[in-house]
């Protein structure tokens, strides 16, 4: 059985047919070829699959594609192209906050929504926000550094 599915992905409207068992992450990767959404654990633990669903971060592996009908999805590709992440991306690069890069899309989405919802998070709050994102390479410290420096730069930019 396949079902019709209409939704908006990175600003473009999409009409497809999917099997109900298809996760949103598999739909984005396999059907739309948006492979920046990564799959690690496929059970909500690692955070590699985060996307924005109607503006909020959710796990693409835990949402069925059919459940996103009528919704607005933003993936790491859409966010990166919009320029919304440019300073975070630069800081991740400068601080060595990625090595293999597998966790990076999820880290950026978590960091992006933290900065959207919390005006000036401290390091403890950054760590709490990242508690659902696994990184097997960096040891996290550099990721926290990159996010902290972006917060400082945004505050300086706003004050200037």
């Amino acid at each position: 059985m396949t079902l019709p599915l209409h939704l908006t992905v990175n600003g473009q409207s999409v009409a497809e047919h999917v099997e109900p068992r298809t996760s949103l992450a598999d739909f984005l990767r396999d059907r739309l070829r948006l492979t920046g959404t990564h799959l690690g654990c496929e059970m909500g633990v690692c955070g590699a699959c985060l996307v924005l669903l109607d503006g909020k971060p959710v796990h693409g592996c835990l949402v069925l594609a059919v459940q996103a009908a009528g919704s607005e999805v933003q993936t790491i590709e859409g966010l990166a192209e919009s320029g919304a992440l440019a300073d975070l991306q630069r800081a991740f690069h400068e601080r060595n906050a990625l090595q293999c890069g597998y966790c990076t899309p999820g880290m950026l989405i978590t960091a992006h929504s933290l900065l959207e919802t919390t005006p000036a998070p401290d390091r403890g709050e950054i760590r709490t926000a990242l508690s659902g994102n696994f990184c097997r390479c960096t040891g996290y410290e550099s990721i926290v550094d990159a996010i902290a420096v972006t917060i400082e730069r945004r505050a300086e930019g706003a004050g200037a």
Binding site: M43, G44, L62, V63, V66, Q67, A69
Partner: protein, 292 residues
């Protein structure tokens, strides 16, 4: 890690959902936030023919203050429980506990109702609603019924809900004057399921505890009330000696089993430490302001 095939129907109303269930001959599951079902389908622990999506049912939405108390729709997300101003004012134990439930992104989708119906013994909300003496508003083919929390959590992952019934909302009775309450847990990492957690609900008038409800999670098959501890506190000042005495009797209330993660004795020790922490904190606190 991919689920077997199943059919999917989005329900527009409770009556349509109940109809769909009746036609499935019991081979269907309700889908709310999906954050427990989707992984369990992927792990092939469950294999229903049909998922009936109840996540857009208006009858299950909303958080409202009524004369009977605070009514929380089953579809309220964990994130809403954490940030809703009515919950913060009228059921602060729930907002406090929500900060410990899973990680931020999970909280955006997972629902309060789904969490309670799942009845995971390690979950925070079941322990909190037991402290708050909640009433479950359940609807099924025979109509609606109300079940008090003392009759709701029956066993490991087992509640009074019959197959085919829907949890519509949960009622939290009004908080009494002079209420002091606190929630805390011990987990290996923030957002992980707790090794032990506790919700404490006390009425303290002129320094003396007049009513007490204390409920632990992760220490038994259901949220566990510590009735002997409650008794030890009632009618006595909330002060250091009484807190020590209450900690001492906890071993008569709880008897956690050994499991692969922790010996039972360690879990009991942690529960005792946690109880002391929360009670000392509440002893130093003045009564919360209960809005009329």
């Amino acid at each position: 890690m991919k689920p077997p095939p199943f059919d999917y129907q989005l329900a527009d109303s409770v009556s349509q959902a109940l109809d769909l269930y009746a036609r499935s001959e019991g081979d269907a599951l309700w889908l709310a936030g999906g954050h427990s079902i989707v992984p369990s389908l992927a792990l092939r622990l469950q294999a229903p023919s049909l998922l009936i999506d109840i996540s857009r049912l208006p009858e299950l939405m909303g958080i409202t203050l009524t004369e009977e108390g605070l009514r929380i729709g089953a579809l309220a997300t964990h994130a809403q429980i954490l940030s809703d101003p009515l919950v913060r004012t009228h059921a602060p134990l729930l907002s406090e506990a929500a900060a410990h439930v899973a990680h931020p992104a999970i909280r955006n989708r997972a629902t309060f109702g789904g969490n309670l119906v799942l009845a995971d013994p390690a979950s925070e909300f079941p322990a909190v609603v037991r402290c708050l003496d909640a009433v479950f508003d359940i609807v099924g083919p025979e109509g609606a019924r109300q079940v008090g929390v003392e009759d709701f959590f029956l066993d490991l992952f087992t509640t009074a809900l019959e197959p085919g019934e829907i949890l519509r909302s949960v009622l939290i009775p009004p908080a009494p004057a002079s209420l002091r309450c606190g929630f805390d847990e011990l987990a290996r990492r923030h957002g992980d399921f707790a090794m032990v957690g506790a919700a404490v609900w006390l009425v303290v008038a002129e320094g003396v505890t007049t009513e007490a409800r204390i409920c632990f999670h992760s220490v038994g098959p259901t949220p566990m009330r510590a009735t002997l501890v409650e008794e030890a506190l009632r009618g006595r000042p909330l002060a250091a000696d009484e807190i020590n005495a209450a900690q001492a009797v906890l071993g008569n209330d709880l008897d956690p089993a050994d499991d692969v993660t922790l010996p039972g004795a360690t879990r009991l020790h942690l529960a005792r430490v946690l109880l002391g922490r929360i009670l000392h904190r509440l002893a130093g606190q003045t009564a919360m302001e209960t809005a009329a």
